[in-house]
Symmetry: C2
Subunit: 319 residues, 2 copies
């Protein structure tokens, strides 16, 4: 019936129509496929994608008292400006979706016209950015906080920065370098050339920094890089418990003395302290340690995490 205009243009109009019918009107997938004259399997696939890619966003308008309480406690204990706590899930991807949902909402209000937003990378940040509302930031810019992976993926530095810039309608500056250099010397060469230093300087002057962190288990993306994985035992030996911006930290939040930390191409964590709004977005109980280290060191002033982590952070704070 409405096929000429609705099903064809780029598939985008079809997606929009399915979004309305399925998520707002509540039609069954069968009804939608009948009306639009396409296979039900296709409706099913698209309906799934819409949620995953952030085209359909859900907003929970019921406060969870236990989470609100933890938010207040964390603000107090670590002197944070803003904290969001979401329920815990035992599956990592589910957890990322919930944290991303809350982080997206937080960033929506935090980011203003004329600001420069610096951003790390990882699956959690990728999920958060997908939940943000698209807008046209006046004089906004996005700048990468760290080098990327050679091998492309959705969660790579370039993709995450690009996605964020697109969402905000802002220009994007990339750290065109690998996250770890093969040697300390090659790092020097890269920094002095190729404009990497200029971009890092720009990141240092950003208004909002969005970062995640990793522990030393294979659950963290960074540890899947070969050059990191093979040195995990060394790192653990000298007291490292995780990383932020590719820099490995000990339990007090200090960078450990290790070649990897000397060869990393990223803003040093300590420089985050100079940025007005620095948000750590990270959840999962196995990351509680490194999150605690980062908060103790005062690298960030905003936090988005899950209930179980928040509980442990509050409990350990008594020590």
């Amino acid at each position: 019936m409405l096929n000429d205009e609705s099903t064809n243009p780029g598939g985008e109009q079809l997606r929009a129509r399915i979004a309305w019918f399925y998520y707002v009107a509540g039609l069954t997938q069968q009804e939608i496929s009948d009306r639009l004259g396409i296979a039900r399997a296709r409706v099913n696939k698209i309906a799934g994608q819409l949620r995953a890619d952030g085209s359909v966003v859900v907003d929970i308008r019921l406060p969870l008292l236990s989470c609100i309480k933890l938010e207040e406690q964390l603000k107090q204990v670590f002197g944070l400006k803003s904290v969001a706590v979401v329920p815990s899930a035992d599956d990592d991807e589910q957890q990322r979706r919930m944290i991303g949902d809350a982080a997206g909402a937080l960033l929506d209000v935090l980011i203003q016209d004329g600001q420069c937003i610096s951003v790390g990378w990882g699956r959690t940040l990728s999920a958060s950015i997908k939940q943000m509302r698209t807008r046209q930031l006046k004089d906004g810019s996005v700048v990468s906080l760290m080098g990327g992976l050679t091998r492309g993926s959705e969660t790579n530095a370039f993709e995450v920065s690009t996605e964020l810039a697109k969402t905000l309608g802002a220009d994007c500056y990339y750290v065109t370098a690998p996250i770890y250099c093969p040697s300390i010397e090659s790092r020097e060469i890269l920094l002095t050339h190729s404009g990497v230093n200029e971009v890092m300087e720009r990141a240092r002057r950003s208004d909002v920094a969005i970062v995640s962190c990793g522990d030393l288990t294979p659950r963290t993306k960074l540890t899947t890089i070969y050059s990191v994985r093979e040195r995990l035992p060394e790192l653990k030996d000298i007291g490292a418990i995780g990383e932020i911006l590719g820099t490995f930290l000990d339990a007090q939040g200090f960078a450990v003395d290790h070649p990897l930390n000397q060869s990393v191409i990223a803003m040093p964590p300590a420089d985050l302290k100079a940025i007005p709004n620095s948000i750590l977005i990270s959840g999962g109980l196995y990351k509680a340690e490194i999150i605690r280290a980062i908060l103790s060191a005062g690298y960030v002033n905003c936090l988005v995490t899950d209930e179980a982590v928040a509980e442990r952070l509050v409990r350990l704070a008594g020590d």
Copy 2:
């Protein structure tokens, strides 16, 4: 596990947790019932309610080109300030859900601190208000535009105003009278007494008016009232095609000369013209006629409707 605190308090915390797990994390209802230690059927029921009562709101972030085009055309043709067009559905309830979704979003940005919001009633308005975000309006007030039904229902004047006032965190003023008086004389008595006049005067000075409209078929709530239903033939005979604020209009948008129009307790449609923002929220092709009449008369300056109606309005405008 988390039962003490999460399942008990008023059921509200349980609802919040289900909302997160089901709509954000994407757990199955079985997984949620296991984790929370309650029956799956209960999770199923609550998950359904959450959508229906506006605790979980979905936001479609894909523009429908055909609808945007119609919005622009309608603005032009009828000189409207703001128009929202959503896809059409053949089921009335689905249609109301979609229109309510769009209307809620429009009202969210339109309503400001310090404003007085006047509101009619009906199923469409009820659905719209449920989609609005709850907030604490500074010095805001809500006032009813018309009398209610004796028999209570979710879509009655008192319920709709109350709900809106609660959502906005505002005071509420009711028109404590039936929508139609048994006689013209009793109307006079009611108006001069019982503060109804004062409330109507307040409505006249409101900043935003939210209204719906009805046609003369049984699909419209108003026509199910006995006193209206039995006089439908008369109304049709003298050219009435529908109503706004309980006042029956002809195709040009003028109030018809009929006892019902003399006994109605509501603000006259013409007074809407003096209100800075007046929003007509109504969809369904069978209402196209009356919507057209209202727009032609210039009673409102904002419109939320569906695609099929919008198309017809634009097409008929050529005549």
